[in-house]
């Protein structure tokens, strides 16, 4: 955990050394904006109660494979990597549905159900998610 925080700090502070662009912002299936807005299902890499905006990923619907979903809202030139098995926080702002997280892609093995209007840290076991499952 500490290692991950150090990595995060290094990424934010040493952008010049970073290697990737930010393709994730172009394919974000939420609104790509920094804030987790009403109606969105928001994942965060290092959970801080969503008080910071980088390394989040927002969704409006289900997603069967987090292995092709990249973190967005990245600092400039920060490396992009996928959210699968790497999210530590979730904020469910879907106004109708609880959201189920699955251990495997394609909704294999339900692991956690997040109620509406709720945010918390999660164990980083997430490969797909579904609304009103």
């Amino acid at each position: 955990m500490r290692v991950r925080h150090v990595i995060a700090a290094a990424m934010a502070g040493a952008a010049a050394m970073a290697v990737g662009a930010t393709p994730a912002q172009a394919i974000d299936r939420g609104d790509s904006k920094a804030a987790c807005n009403s109606g969105e299902i928001c994942f965060q890499w290092l959970y801080d109660n969503f008080s910071t905006s980088s390394y989040q990923r927002h969704f409006w619907y289900n997603d069967s494979n987090h292995g092709d979903d990249y973190w967005s809202n990245l600092p400039d030139l920060s490396p992009a990597f996928v959210i699968a098995n790497d999210a530590e926080g979730l904020w469910n702002r879907d106004s109708s549905c609880a959201v189920t997280l699955y251990d495997f892609a394609n909704y294999g093995t339900a692991y956690t159900v997040f109620p509406r209007d709720f945010r918390a840290g999660i164990s980083p076991r997430n490969n797909s998610h579904k609304r009103c499952a």
């Binding site: 609104d31 009403s38 409006w60 879907d94 109708s96 609304r131």
Partner: protein, 309 residues
């Protein structure tokens, strides 16, 4: 089998006997008694009141959405599902939890599942809606009861405490010997995992290089709203879909079904699953005793509030 069933009933009776006096002490005068009769089944997780939790959720949604409509935002009320839904359906552990249960099922549905319909997503680009949403959410919880919100979130927490360890514990206790036997049988039918060691750690059909359980409703995640400031936008509804496995998934699922049956893993896994459920119910029995009467009471109040049967 009869001896095993008697053993289960004896265990559950013992648990019920153990829990009842404590339940009686912890109830307030207004609280209905803890309904531990559910423990009489072969599924200890049937003590978890998922249907009642769904009723509370549905009533809070309905009251909140009527409040939003009164404030000029009818979108949420218009797209509501017609009935409550148990958010923890996966806690109902059956033979199907572990794979197809017949050759016919294996061929048609493979490792997938038919999907329920889901309401459209409602997205706000209107700060006035956001303010009304917060106010209506709070007032709807209070209308249900003073403690409804706390109990609702507390019960989700309990459901997740049961859900999270279940699959891993069942796989681990079923044991590497059993999984090796399954692998050997599958190999005899021409199916080998991409990584045997990974399979022994996490025995899932997803490791055989065949797309399994791919959702027919996939594609809605590509929808994008117009995002006009000051508007509330409603996305497409998610229809119920009947899953149809592809040929490769059908072939693997059929072999999986036959090998689980022939090696006896199907029965072994179900027995282990009952043991694990029992241990988890025992571990969290104080939560069941505290929350079940409250969930029962609030679900009843919720149904009365919205005029549900």
């Amino acid at each position: 089998m009869i001896r095993r069933r008697r053993g289960r009933i004896a265990w559950l009776t013992a648990l019920t006997t153990l829990l009842l006096p404590v339940a009686a002490c912890s109830e307030s005068a207004a609280e209905p008694p803890a309904d531990l009769a559910a423990a009489k089944s072969d599924q200890p997780f049937s003590l978890f009141l998922g249907e009642e939790l769904g009723q509370i959720d549905y009533a809070q949604l309905k009251v909140r959405n009527k409040c939003l409509a009164k404030a000029g935002y009818p979108q949420n009320l218009n797209i509501m599902l017609g009935r409550p839904q148990n958010p923890f359906r996966h806690l109902v552990v059956t033979a199907r939890t572990f794979g197809p249960t017949s050759a016919e099922e294996a061929k048609r549905i493979g490792f997938g599942r038919d999907s329920l319909a889901a309401p459209p997503t409602v997205l706000s680009f209107d700060p006035s809606y956001d303010k009304a949403y917060e106010e209506c959410t709070d007032s709807a919880w209070r209308e249900l009861s003073d403690d409804a919100k706390k109990v609702y979130y507390g019960y989700f927490d309990l459901g997740n405490k049961l859900s999270q360890p279940l699959s891993g514990a069942v796989n681990e206790r079923t044991g590497a010997t059993a999984w090796r036997a399954l692998l050997s049988c599958l190999a005899g039918k021409g199916h080998r995992p991409q990584n045997e060691q990974e399979f022994l750690r996490t025995p899932t059909p997803a490791l055989f290089g065949v797309p399994v359980g791919v959702d027919a409703a996939e594609g809605l995640d590509r929808w994008k709203p117009k995002q006009v400031p000051g508007t509330v936008e409603v996305g497409p509804a998610v229809p119920a879909t009947q899953y149809q496995a592809g040929p490769a998934e059908s072939a693997l699922a059929l072999a999986w079904f036959e090998c689980r049956r022939d090696t006896g893993i199907d029965k072994q896994q179900l027995d282990v699953a009952v043991q694990v459920q029992r241990e988890l119910v025992t571990k969290y029995e104080s939560s069941f005793l505290e929350l079940n009467p409250q969930v029962t009471r609030i679900a009843k109040q919720a149904a009365q509030l919205i005029g549900a049967p």
